[in-house]
Symmetry: C2
Subunit: 299 residues, 2 copies
């Protein structure tokens, strides 16, 4: 994720510093190689560092960690934060920006929701397979700050869209992610078309989506948000969108079938905790979350 979106900014002429661990030697010797339906590119000599202290304070931090590493984020990001630094949390799940706001101050925290399909290839190689739009919101929903975030990507090949309410955007993404990623994993590592074509699974995904909308709207109200998720519009649009996606493999499903740890806490655990805290019934989400944690056991 960081390689792709950082790469698009570098391609557009920005001075991008990459924090690279696993692929450091490959990238320093052969560059950062990206394949994409929006155009392949190769950064022959990207500026890379193995330690964020080597980078120092920057205008923008883009944090694209997997949410399972959230507790490593403060230490990794801290050296890059100066007075005017803004931080874009380009991660999956709910509540991650809360951590950054607590660590670095809420005024500088943004959330990015990437609807995309990006895989690591061999070291130094990134494969962007489909989609790619990033929805951008600000932790305090400050319109001037949202505009700053949108401007950052102007001139790049990344399509971006503003989110008037970051929390609402997070919940709307969960309305897709929880049923579809969840059932793709718990159904045994299946693709989204299997859910769409199976009566039982598509009915269950709808029930899950309804539960998520209820929790989301309770959480939005709790945070003083006035514009809530429109239940009917959202369910229909999610199913319509998914029916055009074919045999889509959500990232959590790819993690599952490839034996990696899955992002259960941020995508399923935190929404369920909010359901409990807000007193919203969520028996189906509770079952799914318990199963996913069991499947993630020991990873």
């Amino acid at each position: 994720m960081g390689g792709y979106y950082g790469g698009r900014l570098a391609e557009a002429g920005h001075d991008v510093r990459f924090l690279v661990r696993r692929d450091y030697h490959a990238v320093t010797s052969a560059g950062l190689n990206v394949t994409s339906p929006d155009g392949d590119f190769l950064l022959t000599q990207p500026v890379v560092a193995r330690d964020s202290a080597e980078i120092g304070p920057v205008d923008w931090v883009i944090c694209a960690l997997k949410s399972t590493s959230i507790h490593a984020a403060q230490k990794l990001v801290q050296p890059c934060v100066g007075t005017g630094t803004r931080i874009l949390v380009l991660m999956n799940g709910l509540g991650l920006e809360d951590h950054f706001a607590g660590w670095f101050g809420s005024e500088r925290v943004f959330g990015g929701l990437a609807f995309t399909c990006i895989n690591r290839g061999k070291p130094g190689h990134v494969h962007h397979l489909a989609y790619g739009t990033v929805t951008l919101g600000h932790y305090r929903d400050d319109p001037a700050e949202i505009e700053q975030a949108i401007n950052l990507w102007s001139g790049s090949k990344t399509s971006v869209a503003p989110a008037t309410s970051l929390l609402k955007a997070r919940w709307e993404k969960l309305c897709w992610n929880i049923p579809f990623s969840g059932l793709c994993v718990a159904g045994g590592g299946i693709t989204t078309d299997r859910i769409m074509s199976d009566t039982g699974l598509s009915a269950a995904s709808k029930v899950l989506m309804e539960e998520v909308i209820s929790i989301g709207n309770a959480d939005l109200s709790h945070h003083g948000e006035k514009v809530l998720i429109d239940r009917n519009t959202l369910v229909d649009s999610m199913f319509k969108k998914t029916s055009t996606m074919g045999a889509y493999r959500p990232s959590t499903m790819i993690d599952f079938v490839e034996g990696r740890g899955m992002e259960i806490e941020a995508i399923f655990g935190e929404p369920l905790r909010r359901a409990h805290a807000l007193g919203v019934p969520a028996p189906v989400l509770a079952l799914l979350t318990a199963l996913l944690k069991s499947l993630n056991h020991g990873r």
Copy 2:
């Protein structure tokens, strides 16, 4: 199942004819070898047939097919049914006796609910690992007929218990089987102790059990049954029982981890269909059933 329980009847001196397919050569050459905590035994020359026509009409048919083979049952049992023949359906799940009642007349149909752990060993070998009690009921709940079924096992090493209501006994077994077998499979092939020690899974198993009780009681009422399942007593006793079972592997979970087809329709699909037919909400059972069918796909 048939090898074990038929073997116990033969051991007790009954004239038992075994319908044996896969293990025919092993059993004819080396006998039927059973290991059991209730005492090992070897039937050196059991009467075996490869085709039920070779057996012909008998006093009792014990049908211990896997419920996934229910549609083969009529043809297999038919040659053994004479005027006075009784049929004990020693299978897992709901509604199986309905088929036998339709094929052969309800007065001769009995249901057997085996609480046991029996595995096939190498050909001709059966391993009874634990438990073993069989609850016996009659399709019409005729007390005199139930007594006949109980008497059949007197003098054998099989412990039996009468069920005043066969349908209620079936539902009570499902109250255990649906949550525990279901979550052991969908949780990734885990043992029952993992459910008991995990907050999320044990809460989900309780929610499932509550749904099954509601469906069961609606179904019992629908069938004119006056004595319903006592919700509080049953939930407590099921959890207490399961907590003593240790790392138990339900048969459906063994099928799952060994790659065999699972008994989804009889244990999960039929109860869910009855929930729909009776208008009883069962969103958690619906999700679980859809996941299990997906995991069973192509087996």
